[in-house]
């Protein structure tokens, strides 16, 4: 009987604690993934024959009325994780050619060294890491420098898109009023 009372008391305390509990917050910069072919998981369910090429897994910080590039958020001349939280991940499901270099299928980390007029995309072998805090250039697979494009309307959340470009794919990264494109050949 005592045992039961104790259990009931525990249950009541538990429910009470549950009510007082704050809902687990969602991250300010939620994670997202983008496939090429775009929406591959839906296409696959519909029976697509197109080969799966690549995927980017990244977190999406918001502009939130701040100046992004050249500010303390993404300073010029420094390697940036091209996202938030964990370093941005590039999954190649088939071998690709990036900046003239053959990159075998596998998991990589994608960084960007941001300048006012150009970005250097960096593909690095060190995966499952946080931010660019321990970025190690010795583990670079390749680097590609491209000019930036400016847009009239700012993009609120950092967006990485994969677009068909001939036989290849363009990775387009856009945030605030800046975008940059990294071409992949398959």
């Amino acid at each position: 009987m005592k045992k039961w009372l104790f259990l009931i008391a525990c249950a009541i305390a538990g429910v009470h604690a549950a009510n007082a509990q704050q809902w687990a917050p969602i991250d300010k910069s939620p994670l997202d993934q983008v496939y090429f072919p775009i929406d591959y998981p839906s296409l696959k369910v519909k029976g697509t024959k197109e080969p799966l090429r690549m995927r980017v897994i990244y977190s999406r910080p918001n502009k939130s009325n701040r100046q992004i590039f050249g500010s303390e958020i993404v300073p010029y001349g420094k390697v940036w994780r091209l996202g938030a939280n964990e370093a941005t991940e590039l999954d190649l499901f088939t071998d690709a050619k990036i900046g003239g270099k053959k990159v075998p299928a596998g998991r990589y980390t994608l960084y960007a060294l941001v300048n006012e007029k150009n970005w250097t995309f960096i593909i690095n072998k060190e995966t499952d890491t946080w931010g660019a805090f321990k970025y190690d250039a010795a583990k670079d697979v390749c680097r590609v420098t491209v000019p930036v494009e400016r847009m009239d309307k700012p993009i609120e959340s950092l967006t990485i898109d994969l677009e068909k470009a001939g036989t290849g794919v363009n990775l387009v990264a856009g945030w605030d009023t800046v975008s940059a494109t990294l071409p992949f050949l398959f």
């Binding site: 249950a11 538990g14 429910v15 604690a17 549950a18 009510n19 509990q21 809902w23 687990a24 917050p25 969602i26 991250d27 939620p30 994670l31 997202d32 993934q33 983008v34 496939y35 591959y40 998981p41 839906s42 696959k44 369910v45 799966l52 995927r55 897994i57 999406r60 918001n62 939130s64 009325n65 100046q67 939280n85 964990e86 370093a87 499952d128 890491t129 946080w130 931010g131 805090f133 321990k134 847009m151 309307k153 700012p154 993009i155 609120e156 959340s157 967006t159 898109d161 387009v172 856009g174 009023t177």
Partner: protein, 219 residues
């Protein structure tokens, strides 16, 4: 969803118009970038959800994606100590939220397959071989789904990758395990999956509303 979104836009525009006079002075002090003067003024005062009316590529999803490693917070651990051994596994999943609904019967039905998330099928990446329900899982990528019942959930590990979560190919199941479910746990608004350390390896904690399931994984 689009209708909801439209309603939200319309109401926020209306709020902006109605409250326009009040907001203007504060707005001019907080707003230093000229291109922002009109569009998102009402919004930023009260810290509302972000409206993606200017994202030309892709909106942020209503059930955002997330990922959990084992050991937990592995990427942070790794930068704190570069000698940290490689990670064991991770899940990548989307996080639907209750939004005032009860989990059972309003979102999930007993006996019906659920993708353990939203959108794409939930992915389990195994970086070192593990054992689930007496079956060895070699290094690789897998998908996870569940069949919830009142007293226990069946968790399936499947070989069909990179697909939308509504269509499971049972013939590609690698294993299924039945694990008990408990209720009256702290209420989770967002569907949550995290790993916790156990004596024999790790448990994958699966929690939503007040229901909680632990999938034991031996390392």
């Amino acid at each position: 969803m689009t209708v909801l979104y439209r309603c939200f836009l319309v109401s926020s525009v209306a709020a902006m118009l109605l409250g326009g006079c009040k907001e203007k002075p504060t707005q001019s002090t907080t707003n230093s970038t000229p291109q922002h003067s009109g569009s998102d003024s009402a919004g930023h005062q009260a810290n509302p959800p972000v409206i993606e009316d200017n994202n030309i590529y892709a909106d942020v999803d209503i059930s955002p994606m997330d990922m959990s490693y084992f050991p937990s917070k592995y990427p942070q651990q790794k930068i704190a100590d570069p000698k940290t051994p490689p990670p064991v596994m991770r899940v990548i999943y989307s996080r639907p939220h209750l939004q005032g609904r009860k989990l059972f019967e309003e979102i999930l039905k007993y006996g019906q397959t659920w993708r353990l998330g939203a959108n794409e099928a939930t992915e389990l990446d195994v970086f070192q071989p593990v054992t689930i329900g007496n079956k060895k899982l070699p290094v690789g990528r897998y998908t996870l789904y569940a069949i919830p019942k009142a007293g226990y959930w069946t968790i399936a590990v499947n070989n069909d990758l990179d697909l939308w979560g509504l269509k499971q190919d049972v013939s590609k199941d690698l294993l299924r395990v039945e694990v008990p479910v408990t209720y009256y746990n702290p209420v989770m608004e967002y569907f949550t999956m995290v790993f916790e350390k156990s004596d024999t390896g790790a448990n994958l904690i699966i929690a939503w509303d007040d229901a909680l399931v632990k999938l034991p994984i031996t390392i």
